[in-house]
C-alpha cells in the first residue's frame, strides 16, 4: 500500500497526543503547584531503500541513495519545573516554596511522595495534612487550643497557646531536592514519586543547600501559560489537518489507479 498513508498516520497520532498534553495543561491552569508537561517529538528511523554508492549497472553508480523517513512520534513528555507566580492568601496553613525543593507527603503504604502544593489542612487529630488527608512528613500535630500558627522561612513551625507567653516550637518542615526533577513521575493529586531518572531525594532545611525558603500565607500558582497553550493548540490542529490532507491525497492516488487500470 501507499507508504505515505502510514507515515501520515504517525503524524496524526503524534499531534493527537500533543493535544492531550495541551488539554491536560489547560485543565490544570488553576491547580496550585501544577507543573506543565511538554511533549517532545522525534522523527522515526529512516528506511534505506537504495544505498548511496550502490551499482545501478555494471559501469554505473547511484550518486545518492533513497532514504525514506517513517514518520514521527512523541518520545517523551517532560515536566517543566519553572515557577511563574505566587498568590497571597489568608490561610496560615498555606505555604509556598520560593526556590527549588518539594514537600514530602506520607502515602498510606508508608512511601513518600513529593509535591509543590503547599495548601495544607488540619485533620481531626490536629495533624497537618494535604487536601487528600495525607500527612505531611515529618509530621506536625497542632494543639487544639492554638491561637497563632507560624511557619518560618526555614520551616520552623511555632504556635501560640493561651496562657503561655512564650511561643512553642512544634517541629520543622524539611524539603527535598532532586538532581533531575524532570525525571519525577507524576502520579496525580499534585504528587510526584522518585524514579531512577530523578535520582534520590536529598533532604534539607529550607533556605539551605539550595533549597528554597518557605513563605507562609502564600500559594504557588500553576505554571501553565494560557497563551502558550493556545498557540500550541492552534499549531497542533493545523499540523493534524495537514497530515490528514496527505492521507486524503494518498487515498485519491490509490482510488485513481483502481479506477483507471
Amino acid at each position: 500500500m501507499h507508504p505515505s498513508l502510514w507515515i501520515s498516520k504517525t503524524g496524526m497520532h503524534a499531534q493527537d497526543k500533543q493535544l492531550s498534553v495541551v488539554a491536560n495543561n489547560l485543565a490544570n491552569v488553576a491547580t496550585v503547584g501544577f507543573k506543565r508537561d511538554r511533549a517532545e517529538f522525534e522523527d522515526l528511523f529512516y528506511q534505506i531503500q537504495r544505498q548511496p554508492g550502490a551499482q545501478s549497472s555494471q559501469d554505473n553508480q547511484i550518486p545518492s541513495g533513497l532514504q525514506i523517513g517513517t514518520g514521527v512520534r512523541v518520545v517523551s513528555t517532560q515536566k517543566v519545573f519553572s515557577t511563574t507566580g505566587f498568590q497571597t492568601t489568608e490561610q496560615p496553613l498555606d505555604a509556598a516554596i520560593n526556590g527549588r525543593g518539594f514537600f514530602q507527603i506520607l502515602l498510606p503504604d508508608g512511601t513518600i511522595a513529593y509535591t509543590r502544593n503547599g495548601q495544607f489542612h488540619l485533620n481531626s487529630d490536629g495533624d497537618v495534612v494535604n487536601g487528600n488527608g495525607l500527612p505531611l512528613e515529618p509530621g506536625i500535630t497542632v494543639p487544639r487550643d492554638t491561637i497563632n500558627f507560624t511557619i518560618g522561612e526555614d520551616g520552623t513551625v511555632t504556635v501560640q497557646t493561651p496562657g503561655n507567653a512564650q511561643p512553642q516550637q512544634l517541629g520543622q518542615i524539611t524539603l527535598v531536592d532532586f538532581v533531575n526533577p524532570g525525571g519525577l513521575q507524576a502520579v496525580g493529586s499534585n504528587l510526584f514519586l522518585a524514579t531512577g531518572a530523578s535520582g534520590d531525594p536529598v533532604e534539607g532545611t529550607p533556605g539551605q543547600d539550595g533549597l528554597g525558603f518557605l513563605k507562609q500565607y502564600t500559594l504557588e500558582s500553576s505554571n501553565v501559560s494560557v497563551v502558550e497553550e493556545m498557540v500550541n493548540m492552534i499549531t497542533t490542529q493545523r499540523a493534524y489537518e495537514m497530515n490528514s490532507k496527505v492521507i486524503a491525497t494518498a487515498d485519491q492516488m490509490l482510488q485513481f489507479v483502481n479506477q483507471n487500470v
Partner: protein, 248 residues
C-alpha cells in the same frame, strides 16, 4: 508487450516513494530541530547491448534542507538553539559521534547531559557530566557554568563546554536515526568550531515549510495520475492491436 507500460509503472512506483518523503516531512512539521528532506527524480537509461531507447525514472533524496528552523522562545535554561550554522555533537545510539540541532537538553540521574531524544551531549573530550547545582547558565559558545548547590553567587564554576561543530554541509548526511554524520566512512571526529553560537531559552523548530510540502504533495499526486493514465493508454493500445490481429 509494449515496454511503455513498464516505464509508466516505474514512474508511478517511484512517485509514491517521493510522496513518502514529503509525507515524512509533513509528519515532522512540529519536531524540534528537524531538517526536511528533498526528493528528486532522475532518468536512469537502460543500458545493454541494444539501442538505449528507454529511460526509467528513479527517485532519490539527494540532500537535506539545512535551512535553520524558526526559534521558539521557551524561557527554559536547558533549552538551547544554535544561531546560524553549526551542530551539537552527541553520542549516537551506536556509540559514534553524531550531530544534531535538537536542543531540548535535560539532566540524567547522575548528572549526564542528554538531548531531547536521550543522547549524551559531548563536551571537551568526553560526555558532559554536571555536578549538583542551584543555577545553571549555558553561554553563547556552549560554555556551561553553574552555581554549585548551597554556594553563593561568588562561587560560579565553569564545568565544561558543549562541543559545537560546523563541518561543511556537503560532507554531512542524515543517518537512519535522523541524526547527522559525516558522509565519508571512518572519517575522524570533527574538530570543535569556536564560531558556532547558541542561545539558551530558545528551541529550534522544524524547518519544514508546510505550504511548500503541500504543493509538492499535490504536484506529485497529479504526476502519479499521469503515469496511471499512461498505463491505461498502453493497455488500450494493446487491446486495439489485438482487435486488428483478430480481424486479420
Amino acid at each position: 508487450m509494449d515496454k511503455a507500460l513498464y516505464i509508466a509503472m516505474t514512474g508511478a512506483v517511484q512517485n509514491m516513494q517521493a510522496q513518502a518523503i514529503r509525507a515524512n516531512n509533513l509528519a515532522n512539521v512540529n519536531t524540534t530541530g528537524f531538517k526536511a528532506d528533498f526528493e528528486q527524480a532522475r532518468s536512469m537509461p537502460v543500458f545493454g547491448d541494444f539501442y538505449p531507447s528507454r529511460a526509467y525514472a528513479l527517485t532519490e533524496n539527494p540532500a537535506t534542507n539545512y535551512n535553520p528552523g524558526w526559534l521558539q522562545e521557551t524561557g527554559n535554561d536547558f533549552d538551547v538553539a544554535i544561531k546560524g550554522d553549526g551542530w551539537i555533537a552527541v553520542i549516537g545510539p551506536d556509540g559514534t559521534e553524531r550531530y544534531t540541532r535538537i536542543g531540548n537538553l535535560s539532566i540524567g540521574p547522575n548528572g549526564q547531559l542528554y538531548t531531547g531524544n536521550n543522547l549524551q551531549v559531548l563536551g571537551e573530550g568526553a560526555p558532559i557530566v554536571i555536578p549538583e547545582f542551584d543555577k545553571i547558565e549555558i553561554g553563547l559558545d556552549g560554555t556551561i557554568s553553574i552555581r554549585p548547590r548551597g554556594q553563593g553567587p561568588q562561587e560560579l564554576a565553569q564545568i565544561d563546554r558543549i562541543k559545537l561543530v560546523n563541518p561543511p554541509l556537503e560532507q554531512l548526511e542524515k543517518d537512519e536515526n535522523g541524526l547527522f554524520k559525516l558522509k565519508e566512512e571512518g572519517a575522524g571526529p570533527v574538530l570543535p568550531d569556536a564560531n558556532v553560537r547558541m542561545v539558551s531559552g530558545f528551541l529550534e523548530g522544524s524547518n519544514v515549510s508546510a505550504v511548500e510540502e503541500m504543493i509538492h504533495m499535490l504536484s506529485l499526486a497529479r504526476q502519479y495520475e499521469v503515469h496511471v493514465k499512461m498505463m491505461s493508454r498502453a493497455d488500450e493500445n494493446a487491446e486495439a492491436m489485438a482487435r486488428i490481429l483478430q480481424i486479420g
